[in-house]
């Protein structure tokens, strides 16, 4: 009797356990299948020699479908857990992937670069602050600090200045859209493409020959000597910065222009009635009104100037005294394979943007809802 009873109880526990195990197996089965499919795609993409078109197509389906599937599977699994647990896990289905990728690609690299910056070229021996000593005393590094400063002052000043000028003027004419569109157009062009465009403008041929570069043609037209602009220190930096101004003025113009549309007409009318001149109105009413926009635009272009790489890399490769911080970092890493110095220079770049980061956070915490 006792054994029979035990058996039924046992069976009850057994079925219960089986059902539970079954549920767990099913719950695990779907993610595992999903994982296997993704892994197979990963291996195919990593090792396949299929024609380019096929790879591109598989890649697009795998990448996009895979991401969608990951979200769906994660959601499915979370919904099989008890309700209270599911409620807690649910938000992480949405923000989890983004947080994981950000941690891998930006947050941890900052810490890892900081760590590597205290080691030698092969990251084997601890060298203390030697790499930072290099970063702040090497003559090429000092040159790049000065050049970057020039990029920040002239590049930002030029782009914001011209952007403001165009925005103010275009606001007063009928063909506003056409003018703005054409000034804005270089925004779509890569730094490398812009590099070719401007190399051509600056092209040099010895005196006496027909100049094919626009700038030298103008110079010789007025009786001047043709110049090899890129070797003309320190002015060659200015010639490179002109490219940034050409590219970024459109950006500054668009943002400033939008801010101008927000200046209430009544204030300006009041100024007019008081007899203020147009220049006076712009200086004392309009500019103060859009001051915060000007700060935002300047900040963005300062950051771009600070990290400037492609223009210098393709135009002069940092020769003739045009080195900048980012090109120094690239050279240390990929030409000299000095990971310690490369990392230290990257950390210097991060230190330089900390004030901007702090300002951004302050602005954001002022906003409601968070």
């Amino acid at each position: 009797m006792a054994t029979a009873e035990n058996r039924t109880v046992g069976r009850g526990v057994l079925t219960g356990a089986l059902v539970a195990i079954g549920r767990v197996v099913v719950s695990l089965f779907v993610p595992i299948v999903a994982f296997v499919i993704l892994w197979a795609g990963f291996i195919f993409l990593r090792d396949s020699n299929a024609p380019q078109g096929v790879i591109a197509l598989v890649a697009i389906i795998w990448g996009v479908g895979g991401v969608a599937m990951l979200f769906w599977v994660a959601d499915w699994v979370v919904n099989r857990t008890p309700l209270t647990v599911a409620k807690k896990l649910q938000p992480f289905v949405f923000v989890g992937p983004a947080l994981a990728i950000l941690a891998w690609y930006l947050l941890l690299p900052t810490l890892r670069s900081l760590y590597l910056s205290f080691f030698d070229a092969q990251s084997k021996n601890f060298v203390g602050l030697a790499n930072y000593l290099f970063a702040f005393t090497d003559s090429k590094m000092l040159e790049s600090f000065l050049n970057n400063l020039m990029w920040i002052v002239l590049g930002t000043g030029g782009a914001v200045g011209f952007g403001l000028l165009v925005a103010l003027l275009a606001d007063r004419v009928k063909m506003e859209k056409v003018f703005k569109s054409l000034i804005f157009m270089p925004m779509a062009i890569s730094f490398v493409g812009a590099g070719v465009i401007w190399r051509f403008v600056y092209a040099y041929k010895p005196a006496g020959e027909d100049q094919i570069g626009l700038l030298n043609a103008i110079v010789t037209f007025f009786g001047g000597e043709p110049q090899a602009w890129f070797t003309l220190q320190p002015w060659n930096n200015v010639f490179l910065i002109v490219i940034l101004v050409w590219l970024q003025t459109g950006y500054a113009m668009v943002i400033i222009s939008a801010a101008l549309k927000g200046v209430p007409a009544s204030i300006i009318e009041a100024g007019r009635i008081d007899g203020a001149s147009e220049v006076r109105i712009i200086r004392s009413i309009v500019i103060p009104y859009i001051a915060s926009t000007l700060v935002t635009v300047s900040t963005t272009i300062i950051i771009i100037s600070l990290k400037i790489f492609d223009i210098v890399f393709t135009m002069t490769n940092g020769n003739f005294g045009t080195e900048v911080i980012a090109s120094m970092q690239y050279k240390q890493m990929f030409r000299f394979y000095h990971y310690g110095r490369g990392s230290a220079i990257a950390i210097v770049l991060v230190l330089a943007v900390i004030p901007v980061m702090w300002y951004n956070l302050k602005q954001f915490s002022k906003r409601e809802g968070f």
Binding site: A98, W104, L106, A188, F200, I212, L214, V350, F364
Partner: protein, 300 residues
């Protein structure tokens, strides 16, 4: 400042100043384009502005050569058939698309989900995590090059498309989340409430309501990310490596500057090939692009 487009003497001056600026801004591109369709000898010996005078004549040979494969033949000005090695930018063109399309779609999906989570869900650490996202907006991507390259070497991802998609995803996420958060957080609460009352799961609400409602913001982010990825050189140089099999347009153009620095007829045609897609996207979708710029003007 609306509705006072006045006429008169000042108006003429303003128009003239603007016209001068626009000409200065457009002339470099015009010169590039004209040179790219001039015969080699003319490009190398006379200024492009002389096409308006005695040195007329246009050709598509430059484009044939930069787009063509390794064995390209053409007839030179003296009438001889010349064999030259082309630059095979066609391959790089396909590569650029292979890199760009997933690098645009993947980060947008992930960023949209995260933005929805941050905007409409409560969870521990929400504020802290979002603060980190905002802080990462300005972190220079240079910081990630060495550590991520090491991971890729361990995982065998260097020189693979997968590696560069993930890299562009990682670097594009802070701006993506920030832009989409700004938009998704302004969707009226009522829209969600009725759906939740009907017992819809958050994933369903996200897929059926949030994504369709966010199309304008997603469009601006897509254009932004597209231009950024297509025009990028540094990330491609580091993670894709230098082989011509996978090299994208910007890399090939940078190589051409190095190896063919004085062949202006080819450089100008090559540069135009690199520019044509972003310019088309830009002019077709300028409105969305401007909206995107407005919504997130500080990016690292």
């Amino acid at each position: 400042m609306k509705g006072k487009k006045r006429s008169g003497k000042w108006n003429l001056v303003v128009n003239l100043i603007l016209l001068a600026l626009v000409i200065v801004w457009s002339i470099p591109i015009l010169g590039l384009f004209i040179s790219s369709i001039r015969p080699q000898d003319n490009v190398l010996n006379t200024g492009w502005w002389t096409v308006f005078g005695e040195n007329g004549g246009f050709t598509l040979d430059n484009y044939k050569q930069v787009l063509g494969g390794s064995q390209y033949t053409f007839v030179d000005s003296a009438g001889n058939t010349v064999r030259a090695s082309g630059d095979n930018l066609t391959r790089a063109f396909v590569n650029s698309f292979t890199v760009t399309i997933p690098s645009v779609i993947i980060p947008i999906l992930i960023a949209a989900a995260a933005a929805f989570g941050f905007a409409w869900m409560l969870f521990p650490g929400r504020k802290l995590f979002f603060t980190i996202v905002v802080a990462l907006l300005v972190v220079p991507l240079q910081i990630a090059l060495i550590p991520i390259l090491r991971d890729y070497q361990t995982l065998g991802l260097t020189g693979s498309y997968l590696g560069i998609w993930l890299a562009h995803t990682g670097f594009g996420l802070p701006l993506g989340i920030y832009l989409l958060y700004n938009y998704i957080s302004t969707i009226p609460r009522d829209v969600f409430e009725s759906a939740f009352l009907d017992g819809a799961r958050p994933m369903v609400v996200f897929a059926r309501l949030v994504l369709p409602l966010s199309v304008p913001a997603i469009a601006s982010l897509a254009i932004f990310q597209f231009l950024w990825v297509w025009n990028d050189l540094l990330v491609a140089l580091v993670f894709l490596g230098g082989t011509n099999d996978v090299a994208v347009l910007t890399q090939r153009l940078a190589n051409m500057i190095g190896s063919r620095g004085q062949d202006w007829h080819l450089l100008t045609a090559g540069a135009f090939v690199v520019m044509i897609v972003p310019l088309a996207v830009f002019f077709a979708l300028q409105r969305y692009f401007v909206q995107g710029l407005m919504a997130g003007s500080v990016k690292g």
